[in-house]
Symmetry: C2
Subunit: 328 residues, 2 copies
């Protein structure tokens, strides 16, 4: 089986590739070939020597999609995107990559299929950003996509295209609306959502972190390991069960900052919690107040997608996967 | 004021232009210039001589949108589309006109606005086809757009673009999801929805019509006069009240075929009803069974959009507008 990962250098992309390298039969059929593509030069894990190839690409550029599809990958993971803030600041760039790049990918599959029968599984990383306030208390699977950012608009449009191309039999698409991934490994970043990870990751390693909002703030989360699990499940599941609505809100955990901190206390003690410095930031408070807080992800759950049960599990998984299994 | 009507040769487009010609101040400010554009050569009403210009265009062709926008119309009515059946049969053509043509129009406005401040009102004819089964008993304003046709997909995508371009201050967009227009004037057509009009229009003129479904079939309707009213209201309303969700399900009338026939009997008598020949068509029955039956169009209603109250009003309006005010 030939697997293509577009966006292989991003956080979830890297973790997905790492998982494929550790369990090459995780998709059911052995992977004979793995192509890693990204705007940032991808690095193939050692374990994949001889199987993995890397491509540094501009998905928006003419010919890129055709080149990626010409090798007829059986499974395409499409995680490439200009992130939310950048897509908002750079209107043309956001549309070029997130909309046109995605559409060119679907079109390249259609053209390839016209040449010779071909119908790859295409797993697309969508986003909660397809939703916009005002929200009901719990957002169910029938709630409208009314994005309030260009990024969310581009993701919602790609979801619609994915469904139509799937309905037409051109490809076998599944869109995954990922929860906010927490705990993000790495260093603190300046994304408005960064603090949700910072206040756990930093204290777990004995470092200070800033909490810019009140503890009552609620949001929708999944850990990186669950996120990778979503992609693997989407790649190997029986898609006939999905029906025509091909994009699914992924399961997650609705939790407050207080819930996060309580779990941190249970696992790493008061000393860790004391490393959280409260410093309210009105701008971040305002941005976060427009985000969804809770979902009823029934369809995805019924289709076998699973997230972590609570923040204790998310923290323990982080300690296993990122800290060598123990606290410093 | 300069008004541009794209899709001026279609049924609703022609009725809109006719209304503008009869009441040139209907939009509040006198129309000094009216541009009628369509793939089928538009005909300008006599009353508009000296004001109206006509253009035969291919909206998908390079340069068309720029040319239409270069004259900086204050109000753009965008009704141009490849219809549902054709967009389904001709995948590329449907996307080229309904998606790319619409996007090129929005982009042309953006480019024009970058040259010199410009923010036209853009009223877009969307469709109930953005919705796909299964439906709740009444579809409310928060229900997801999950189209089951390429046409519906293209309309839903244009709605998303319209909202994002409006949010960015590039234009002032309003999308109107029109009910099935009934009674369509003209001759019976072979559209799957045609019978809803045929069974009233033909008997009202003493001719036979075929009813291919059971009388219990329910659907969502508005008359041509209400449809024109939707466009006029959208062109002159205070759009700040709409908020970021710029596409609105238009008010209509949820009625069964039995309701239609009862109204026909009240207005034109048993003789007219006897001209309806029952001849069930399983294919049409199947297509129609996937259509929405009822909406709670609360937002549009609160914003002042109005449809007919019942089928008696729809039939009486047809007699006034199409039959010179009396039955033959």
């Amino acid at each position: 089986m030939h697997v293509l990962v577009i966006g292989a250098s991003g956080m979830v992309g890297r973790k997905l590739v790492e998982r494929l390298s550790k369990a090459p039969d995780v998709l059911g059929t052995p992977i004979r070939r793995l192509t890693l593509a990204d705007a940032v030069a991808p690095v193939a894990p050692q374990a994949l020597t001889g199987i993995a190839g890397t491509l540094t690409i501009d998905l928006a550029a003419s010919g890129t999609a055709e080149k990626l599809v010409a090798e007829r990958p059986d499974i395409i993971f499409h995680l490439a995107a200009i992130v939310s803030g950048e897509a908002e600041a750079e209107f043309e760039k956001g549309y070029a990559v997130n909309l046109d790049g995605s559409r060119q990918l679907l079109e390249a599959v259609r053209m390839e299929a016209m040449r010779e029968p071909y119908c790859p599984r295409l797993v697309f990383a969508s986003s909660l950003a397809v939703f916009g306030a005002p929200f009901p208390e719990r957002i169910d699977d029938d709630f409208l996509a009314a994005p309030l950012t260009s990024y969310g608009t581009q993701k919602a449009i790609t979801e619609l295209l994915l469904a139509d191309y799937t309905r037409k039999g051109i490809l076998d698409g599944v869109g995954l609306r990922l929860p906010t991934i927490c705990i993000r490994p790495g260093v603190p970043n300046r994304a408005a959502s960064g603090f949700f990870s910072n206040i756990l990751r930093e204290p777990l390693s004995g470092r200070e972190a800033v909490l810019p909002v009140e503890e009552g703030v609620r949001h929708w989360f999944a850990g990186p390991r669950a996120a990778v699990g979503f992609f693997l499940h989407a790649a190997r599941m029986e898609t006939a069960r999905i029906g025509p609505r091909r994009s699914l809100t992924m399961p997650g955990l609705s939790a407050t900052v207080a819930d996060q901190i309580a779990a941190l206390r249970r696992i790493a003690g008061d000393a860790a919690v004391k490393l959280i410095r409260r410093e309210r930031d009105p701008l971040i408070e305002q941005i976060v107040s427009g985000w969804p807080q809770n979902f009823d992800a029934r369809r995805a759950h019924e289709l076998g997608f699973r997230a972590e049960a609570d923040f204790d599990e998310i923290i323990r998984t982080h300690i296993e996967d990122e800290l060598g299994g123990r606290l410093p």
